[in-house]
Symmetry: C2
DNA sequence: GTTGACACAGAATAAATAGTCGGGTATCAT
DNA sequence: ATGATACCCGACTATTTATTCTGTGTCAAC
């Protein structure tokens, strides 16, 4: 009933992770049994069942090598899981809605604990070039409800998505979205502006070999 | 004897890729057979053998679900493969040697064709901040022998690795490495300076929420 | 001092999965 | 026309893999 991972369970989880990483497919009961240095398959089944209960991995009964590590499992190991790749947004002016494409991408390390709250977006436009975000880059976004001044955020403006810097000041206009490109205009807060999440990191795509 | 992939082979390769992406483990012969809409396992074996011959994937005989897609397979599909994560370099001053840690990371798309010549490095130091490379970022490097002025390069200086911008001019000092941070000094070419590769892209890690 | 979770043993059975044998058709370039 | 290549059929066997059953010992908590 408790969701804590025991040392032996973590050992098995790690064995499964390494095996998949090395071989490209999951291990059999026998292979896990040998790695655990025990003689009975029952113990492996016991441990696996615990790991399944704890949502660390999933498995299909009667199916050979049908083990897959879940986000919680990656978290327990401190390893990078996958994040859903949602679609295309814009750093220029709000045009593209967010769509789910079904693609998955491996996350950079250190965000495993947010695995169920993060997603990737491809950025279009050049309104954030001074923050190092260019056309075609992919941003890792974490869903949030609270924001600090200076955060780079995913915002919905009149139902359309965009990446901007959020600024909160103690003098008018108090709250606004600031493009990191002097050629673009500030967006002031109205009922049509909703903040959806913070940008955690940027995966840059090409264009590294031009003189700055 | 030829290494070209046929339409049917590519179809199977795509089936395998999607299956692994969705289930977390590779398909059985029967599952592949059904997806291919044929009735005999022999055909699946035939196709798999061709794909193995062509180095698109590898497989272990008599082992259930023992299929793994090789870099050439990812290339044929236009999908991101994995790159080895080598270790830590520095953008500040040359200190850390490159080591293989055994970690693997999924590559951003578009570099699949270089899969056997690229690797990832973690950057330490702040000498390249004006090029958008910060302490802790991960760079994707491609081994090269020829370089153009303006390329961001991985260089070995006195046996130690560093990331800098390469500049070639027609007046003295002709060739040098330029840090993208005014607080750092230019490195002039000597016998101790060797260029190892070009930086293709940067995976930024955190620090996105500070005001620029 | 019993209860429950955890970890393991040994042996047998059931199911899934891979491979074999011996064919067939259609296309295409020499 | 002929050999090479890609692709396919169907029934069969061999092997791998998963599961079930009945136990033991420990250790911490109540």
């Amino acid at each position: 009933m408790n969701n804590l991972i025991t040392p032996r369970q973590k050992e098995l989880l790690s064995i499964v992770y390494s095996y998949i990483k090395n071989e490209g497919y999951p291990p059999t009961f026998d292979e896990m049994r040998k790695k655990l240095k025990i003689v009975s398959n029952q113990s492996v089944i016991d441990l696996l069942n615990k790991l399944v209960e704890g949502k660390f991995l999933k498995r299909n009964e009667n199916i050979a090598r049908s083990i897959a590590i879940l986000p919680l499992g990656y978290e327990a190991l401190g390893k990078p899981p996958l994040a859903p790749f949602l679609g295309v947004t814009t750093a220029g002016f709000p045009i593209d809605p967010i769509e789910m494409t079904g693609e998955w991408q491996e996350l950079p390390g250190g965000v495993a604990r947010f695995a169920d709250q993060v997603f990737l977006l491809k950025v279009h436009g050049d309104s954030m070039i001074n923050a190092g975000i260019n056309d075609g880059d992919v941003v890792l976004v974490k869903s949030e409800k609270e924001f600090s001044s200076g955060d780079i955020v995913l915002a919905e403006v009149s139902g359309e998505s965009t990446i901007k810097r959020f600024v909160s000041e103690d003098k008018p206009p108090y709250l606004y979205l600031k493009p990191e490109n002097p050629e673009y205009k500030i967006i002031y807060f109205t009922e049509e502006v909703v903040l959806k999440g913070k940008v955690l990191s940027v995966v840059k795509q090409g264009q590294m070999n031009k003189i700055a």
